[in-house]
């Protein structure tokens, strides 16, 4: 790349550019914008929707209309981003897209968040010249899984979901089928998402500009439970939610709003408020114990982390022969729910195993699926009753008429509300491994690690999303691989199969960057920086907390003393550990 300053003109303003991949990025860097449906900075350029067209005048006087997302910036060109000519093109594009679109906007899951709706409004589309989709032509909606609703009648074929599934997860559960006006995006031969190997990470719906892929909502059921006088509805909230929810109320990405969140949860009507950070600490004590045990007693290595339900489903459907590598620890959500149902009655009057309803608020669509896993049932009932995503929780706050920004900070309830910084950083890729390292160091050496900030674990390189960290635990070398996205996880698995893997611990989060970028978080697919800011929000809280090692959490110390004996005990296993099943056998890929 040449160091020379290069410039071009946007709407008459001279703008510098360097190595931006396309003109659209230059336009955005200059503080301006053009509409787009299919361009997502984290995915490859596709040029499908033609909304980002601009008028370009070359130094030789030639004028062309081109899509700015696929055009490399050139020195000296004059770009008009909002001329009458391109506005007309965009309006026609919108009209044509709306022709084939189910326009029942008010009842659509994406209403208010929909880019098609937004631009149709901005461009004043009031009439569609062409015959529109009739009820008879509508295709069937697939809502037969706990996480994601696919409504093909809302699809504009921008292909963002297809690229996300392929480029993030290497999985391509969704693909284009047919050709021309009959083109659809669908799983293999129109099957349900639940019938193929979809892991429900929700990255497809996170990049979907319309209501074609949306989160399956459980808000109404939760309201009903809250209003049921017979029930005690308790709630747990995941690490990543606290640094993202504020975005839905005009706060900065990464701003930690946990105090306001506790307050909002009580205002909504939850009886007791707990923090999944507590059970993240619990996960660490159990998982670090398991890891140390595997290392010292020649157990199956490398050990895989097991917090991410999309990753678990990937293993069960793609590599059922390697399930022994997975830590038997439940996820933090999976741990806290049975703890609440079994142990809360001891501490709180009026609470019984049968009247407690556990709601969890997660950045994740796959957690909805996890909650419905057969292994996570107790006495015939699911341990976690309902899972809401950050987005759904934000909507509940709005529905309840709560002025979120002006809420006074509150605290979580006891005895399962206290947490350490190690629990907080669970939400970012590398966080689980860093937290585990702090505690494993103590378990192995009997001493605390001198510096809690193991910075090698932090940060995600967009191009690799994978890193290998060597830890020196008083002369004992431990190699950890940290990956986000299943595409990178698959590479690590292939290394194990080839016998070239040099690591003993593999941390996997299925979403790029980890849970802070989960499928249930407020929409952020247009801005790469938001994820970094959210991660930084978590690390900032970690720095500020007095306790930063999971095993030092007084609530954790107490739960072992009072109820669970010690990490890895029989009782701990009964409540906090789980099993996995081969889901390849009997699936559509199990060909005979």
């Amino acid at each position: 790349m040449s160091e020379d300053k290069k410039t071009l003109f946007i709407e008459g303003k001279e703008v510098e550019f360097t190595d931006e991949p396309n003109l659209l990025e230059v336009i955005r860097k200059a503080g301006m914008n053009v509409p787009t449906f299919c361009y997502r900075p984290d995915l490859t350029q596709f040029g499908a929707c033609r909304m980002c067209v601009v008028e370009v005048e070359y130094p030789n006087g030639r004028v062309m209309v081109n899509s700015s997302c696929t055009m490399p910036p050139e020195a000296g060109i004059k770009v008009k981003i909002n001329s009458q000519r391109v506005r007309k093109i965009r309006k026609t594009v919108l009209e044509l897209l709306l022709t084939n679109h189910d326009r029942e906007c008010t009842t659509c899951n994406k209403s208010g968040n929909c880019e098609l709706q937004k631009y149709s409004e901005e461009y004043g589309v009031r009439k569609i010249k062409y015959p529109t989709l009739t009820k008879e032509e509508m295709m069937e909606i697939d809502d037969r899984n706990p996480s994601i609703v696919r409504d093909p009648n809302k699809c504009i074929l921008c292909g963002a979901c297809v690229r996300a599934c392929s480029e993030f997860q290497g999985h391509s559960v969704l693909g284009f089928a047919n050709r021309g006006s009959r083109t659809v995006v669908q799983p293999m031969n129109g099957r349900d998402l639940a019938a193929v190997d979809c892991v429900f990470c929700g990255q497809c719906q996170a990049v979907c500009p319309t209501g074609a892929l949306t989160i399956k909502s459980n808000v109404d059921e939760v309201w009903d439970e809250i209003n049921n006088k017979e029930k005690k509805v308790v709630v747990q909230i995941a690490p990543s939610v606290r640094v993202a929810l504020g975005e839905m109320f005009g706060l900065k990405p990464g701003e930690n709003t946990i105090g306001k969140i506790y307050a909002a949860l009580r205002k909504i009507g939850f009886d007791l408020v707990f923090d999944t950070n507590f059970s993240a600490d619990l996960t660490i004590t159990e998982e670090a114990t398991e890891f140390v045990d595997r290392v010292t007693n020649n157990g199956v290595l490398p050990m895989f982390t097991s917090c991410c339900p999309a990753w678990i489903r990937y293993m069960e459907t793609q590599h059922p022969d390697m399930l022994a590598h997975l830590s038997s620890c439940k996820s933090p959500q999976g741990m806290l729910s049975p703890v609440l149902k079994e142990l809360l009655p001891k501490y709180q009057e009026g609470y019984t195993k049968d009247n407690i309803v556990v709601v969890s608020i997660m950045p994740c669509t796959a957690k909805k699926y996890e909650a419905k896993r057969g292994q996570l049932r107790r006495d015939g009932k699911f341990e976690t009753d309902y899972v809401l995503t950050t987005q759904e929780f934000g909507r509940m706050i709005k529905e309840a008429g709560i002025d979120f920004k002006s809420l006074e900070d509150e605290k979580a309830d006891s005895p399962f509300g206290g947490y350490t910084g190690a629990g907080t950083i669970f939400g970012a890729s590398g966080g689980v491994a860093e937290a585990a390292a702090r505690t494993a160091y103590y378990y192995i050496t009997g001493e605390n690690v001198t510096n809690n900030d193991i910075k090698e674990f932090r940060g995600v390189d967009k191009n690799s999303r994978s890193k290998t960290i060597e830890l020196d635990i008083k002369g004992k070398k431990v190699v950890v691989r940290v990956v986000s996205t299943l595409k990178q996880a698959e590479k690590a698995i292939q290394e194990i199969k080839d016998g070239t893997a040099n690591f003993q611990l593999l941390e996997v989060m299925a979403c790029p960057g980890g849970c802070i970028n989960g499928g249930g978080q407020p929409r952020s697919c247009d801005d790469i920086k938001i994820k970094e800011e959210r991660a930084e929000g978590l690390y900032e809280e970690d720095r500020k907390l007095e306790l930063r090692r999971s095993h030092e959490n007084p609530d954790i110390v107490r739960i072992y003393k009072e109820d669970l004996e010690k990490p890895g005990s029989h009782k701990a296993h009964e409540l906090l550990h789980t099993t996995y099943t081969d889901m390849r056998t009997g699936s559509y890929k199990d060909l005979k």
Partner: protein, 164 residues
């Protein structure tokens, strides 16, 4: 997808994949070879290829198979009839010929393979024999300058042969 699916011999597909170098860029060639064997693309074969080959998925293979008109997802007949409806054939009266075939073989409501699996019918956009319009091809044989009466005779002859 309709009709019953053929049992797929996966070792044969392995062989085809290996012969094509196992590369995903050769997917179309692989699908063509599979179609040669089964006279269509059985769903199991597509799932198998999508699972087995690196960089592909069943949904991606299905996408390629449904994109190109040359691939069929339904079993084709022993006699594959291709009725040309390109410009030249169309103006020279290919539609009456097509309708005559449909009537003779009792193909209606979008059905294009006969119940006995003997015939399948598709329209194509050009067979490169515009001078002989309207043209029908049955398997590898070209029938030039067809009329609705002439094609009936052709079909009757084939049926007589088959019923012998």
């Amino acid at each position: 997808m309709t009709g019953s699916q053929t049992k797929v011999d996966f070792s044969k597909i392995d062989e085809i994949i290996t012969n094509c170098g196992g590369k995903k860029s050769n997917l179309i060639a692989i699908l063509q070879k599979v179609q040669e064997v089964y006279r269509y693309l059985p769903e199991d074969a597509m799932i198998y290829i999508g699972t087995k080959m690196e960089g592909l998925s069943p949904a991606t293979v299905f996408g390629v198979a449904t994109f190109y008109a040359q691939f069929s997802l339904d079993p084709k007949g022993k006699y594959e009839i291709r009725c040309c409806d390109g410009t030249a054939c169309h103006v020279r009266g290919s539609m009456p010929v097509l309708n005559a075939i449909k009537a003779r073989l009792d193909l209606k409501d979008g059905k294009f393979t006969t119940d006995d699996g003997l015939f399948s019918l598709e329209t194509v956009s050009c067979l490169g024999a515009c001078g002989l319009a309207p043209v029908v091809m049955i398997n590898d044989k070209v029938y030039p300058q067809m009329t609705s009466d002439a094609i009936k005779v052709v079909l009757d002859t084939i049926l007589q042969e088959e019923n012998k």
